[in-house]
């Protein structure tokens, strides 16, 4: 009995978190018009979650592209198809790896700091203090971070994909000796701008940005006001974001294909 009770709690807890986050979203959107007054705050958050994430996104993108080209070159050489390395790198990056890996990195780099920051504001009663000063914390703290995440993710996805393709080019063409023209012409012949770049990368990036930011802001906003609570909330942001990203990725892929 005692073994079953935590499991039921876990399930109910998870469902409650999902429902709570779902109810939190309309509150965020309702605060959107009021948050335009704090436009500078949105810009500052965009700088923090977007521009400051560029280093890790670019480094990881480069290495993902490089390892992808290296792996594919050896597999494709079995079939004599090394000329399509560029195509496969581009398609894999646009459709899956670009948005998903960027979103996972984004959850780890930006999501956690959003949760920790808002959680600490909650724990130290800064949010209540704002309310006392007639500053709506939803409009000043929550919505700018949510908005910044949604704007930043597609841009980060683009940068990640670009670096991944350049990394693939570096390994495939410069090191393994695939012909430069073949690499690009096969890619341009098989990658479609709507199906792969817009549907595959941009929409997914937007969706992941929204989901990760929502989870991060919600977890921070509703954290128990203790140091332990903030720690748990930060962990839950990463866990819930990762699961949500991969699950939504499957659903989106099924719909967009």
């Amino acid at each position: 009995m005692s073994a079953q009770a935590p499991r039921r709690n876990f399930l109910a807890d998870g469902l409650a978190q999902i429902g709570d986050a779902g109810l939190f979203l309309p509150a965020l959107l309702a605060a959107l018009p009021r948050s335009f007054r704090y436009f500078r705050e949105t810009v500052r958050q965009l700088w923090f979650v977007g521009a400051m994430s560029l280093t890790i996104i670019m480094t990881c993108g480069l290495f993902v592209g490089m390892v992808l080209a290296l792996q594919l070159y050896h597999v494709l050489s079995i079939f004599g198809g090394t000329s399509s390395t560029g195509t496969v790198v581009a398609l894999a990056v646009f459709r899956e790896l670009g948005p998903v890996v960027t979103a996972l990195l984004f959850a780890g780099r930006a999501g956690t700091s959003i949760t920790a920051e808002i959680g600490l504001m909650r724990a130290t009663d800064q949010l209540s203090a704002m309310e006392m000063m007639a500053v709506d914390p939803m409009a000043y703290v929550a919505t700018p971070r949510f908005l910044a995440g949604i704007i930043a993710m597609p841009l980060l996805c683009s940068v990640f994909s670009l670096l991944a393709i350049l990394g693939g080019h570096l390994v495939g063409v410069t090191w393994l000796g695939i012909d430069n023209g073949t690499f690009w012409s096969n890619m341009t012949a098989n990658v479609d701008v709507w199906k792969d770049v817009i549907d595959g990368m941009l929409w997914k990036g937007l969706a992941f940005g929204g989901v990760v930011s929502l989870i991060a802001v919600h977890q921070g906003y509703t954290t128990p006001p203790t140091s332990e609570g903030v720690a748990y909330a930060t962990t839950r942001t990463v866990v819930a974001s990762s699961i949500a990203i991969l699950a939504i990725d499957f659903v989106l892929t099924a719909f967009l294909m």
Binding site: W47, A51, L54, L155, S161, A189, N190, V197
Partner: protein, 171 residues
């Protein structure tokens, strides 16, 4: 104030960089890079079988890409496939007795339309139709023919061996 300006500039740079990356990806790594808009003319070709030919498949002459497949329709009255191809306006010297064939790049590659030039002094114009066409080579048909021929050879071989003893018997 300087602090504020520095992050505003950083954010602006980030947004510009993101959109530049997106623009580069959208125009340089996709089929948009091969687009020559407005400067094409259409030709038609009828095939009894197009195999796995798809829209936007390349059209090649002497192995060089000169255009792409615009549309593929089934013609109800003629019971064949009408393929409309758009060819770059720069390549307007295709003789009107040229033939179009559905070919495969490599053994298992994608299919494309290859044009064999003829010798006519007249050139194909917008809306013209190829008179000579060659349908896609179906691997299954080839295997089928090979199997049938193999059996046929065996049979004729049997017939030979059967007919051979006959003269012996006659002697």
């Amino acid at each position: 104030m300087t602090q504020r300006r520095s992050y505003a500039v950083g954010t602006g740079l980030f947004i510009v960089l993101g959109f530049l990356a997106l623009a580069y990806l959208a125009t340089q790594t996709t089929s948009l890079a091969n687009f020559d808009e407005g400067s094409t003319y259409d030709l038609k070709a009828r095939f009894t079988n197009i195999g796995q030919l798809k829209d936007r498949a390349p059209v090649k002459m002497a192995g060089v890409r000169i255009g792409s497949v615009k549309s593929i329709q089934f013609e109800n009255d003629k019971l064949d496939a009408l393929v409309t191809i758009s060819v770059d306006k720069r390549f307007d010297q295709i003789p009107d007795d040229s033939s179009a064939a559905v070919l495969t790049s490599g053994l298992l590659g994608d299919q494309y339309i290859g044009i064999q030039p003829g010798g006519s002094p007249q050139n194909l114009k917008n809306g013209d139709t190829f008179i000579l066409t060659q349908s896609a080579m179906q691997l299954e048909d080839l295997i089928g023919k090979f199997l049938v021929n193999g059996n046929g050879d065996k049979k004729s071989g049997d017939a030979d061996s059967a007919s051979k003893p006959a003269p012996d018997a006659g002697q």
